[in-house]
Amino acid sequence: MKKPALAFALALLVAAAGACSKSSDSGSNASATTPTSATASSPTSANAAGPVTDADVAQVDAMLHSLDTELSRLDSDMATGEGQVQ
């Protein structure tokens, strides 16, 4: 591996290890996104058929909660500039 490529790979590793948790400039710190699949999978506690219960609606509430988190991240993303590059 060439020296510049090696340096970049090392920089990525170092940044991945710790830089995500702190702000290094005014640029965005994109935060972890909840995978949709994590909220869309069917918990076993509710029936997929039969009478609808409050537990069924509670599953939707959980999805809406994760939705709120993502919308807040979207707000944060859009409030952030590009930061300094030179």
């Binding site: 940044a15 830089a19 965005s28």
Partner: protein, 233 residues
């Protein structure tokens, strides 16, 4: 003025003229070593800026791969766009590390922003697509609950189901509203390109407003689902 004092004053004046002429305290051109330090510092700054963007893009790529409700084409388009930017920034970093002078490094570093707009466009647009997927998934879940509530109404013999029917109709209207508003968003967001920024920022803002409204409407629909359950008790 004594002779030593006059000499000292002359030395100070010459030194000041030298600083003014060269921009440094040295009397000659800036040493090559100092230029190299500034060049290396500029390259490191550019690498750090690229690294942050690549990490953010990879995190969103992971989220994009987990999309469940949108089409395969939308999911593939999003992941491809994110990967293209990762590839482009990686190549740009390699070029910057090979640049031989400060002016070239600065020009190349400027393209991190002008050619990519990662933070102000790509990340919000990708996040918007992911949020659209969550809203449409929630709508799908509530739609299935609505179907089951309809079955409960149909089977509620001997009960007055008038209010339940009205509330269920209101619930379905909410879901239709969400589907109509949110379904077009992924395609509209995926069409946004860095070259169109900042003109296409309006589309981003409108998408965010639509997603906010969608979230509120889904909350109302969930409340109506609970109301129908209560109506049938």
């Amino acid at each position: 003025m004594s002779r030593p004092a006059a000499l000292r004053r002359a030395v100070v004046v010459v030194a000041a003229l030298a600083v003014g002429a060269t921009g440094s305290v040295g009397l000659g051109p800036r040493p090559a070593g100092a230029q190299q330090v500034r060049l290396d510092a500029a390259k490191q700054l550019a690498t750090a800026a690229i690294t942050r963007r690549v990490l953010a893009l990879r995190e969103l790529t992971t989220a994009a791969k987990a999309i469940v409700r949108l089409s395969d084409a939308d999911r593939t388009a999003l992941t491809s766009q994110l990967q293209d930017q990762v590839n482009g920034l990686t190549s740009l970093n390699a070029k910057i590390q090979g640049d031989g002078d400060l002016a070239t490094v600065r020009a190349d570093a400027g393209t991190i922003i002008t050619d990519y707009h990662v933070y102000v466009l790509t990340i919000p647009k990708a996040r918007g697509v992911v949020v659209s997927d969550i809203e449409l998934t929630a709508e799908d879940r509530l739609s299935k609950l609505a179907d089951r509530l309809q079955t409960m109404i149909d089977q509620a013999s001997g009960k007055d189901t008038t209010k339940a029917k009205t509330d269920l109709a209101a619930l379905r209207a909410k879901l239709t509203s969400v589907t109509t508003a949110v379904s077009p968003l992924p395609a509209a967001l995926l069409a946004l390109q860095p070259a169109g920024y900042p003109g296409n920022r309006t589309t981003l803002e409108q998408a965010r407003a639509t997603l906010r409204t969608g979230r509120q409407t889904l909350g109302d629909a969930a409340t109506l689902a609970r109301t129908v359950i209560t109506d049938l008790k």
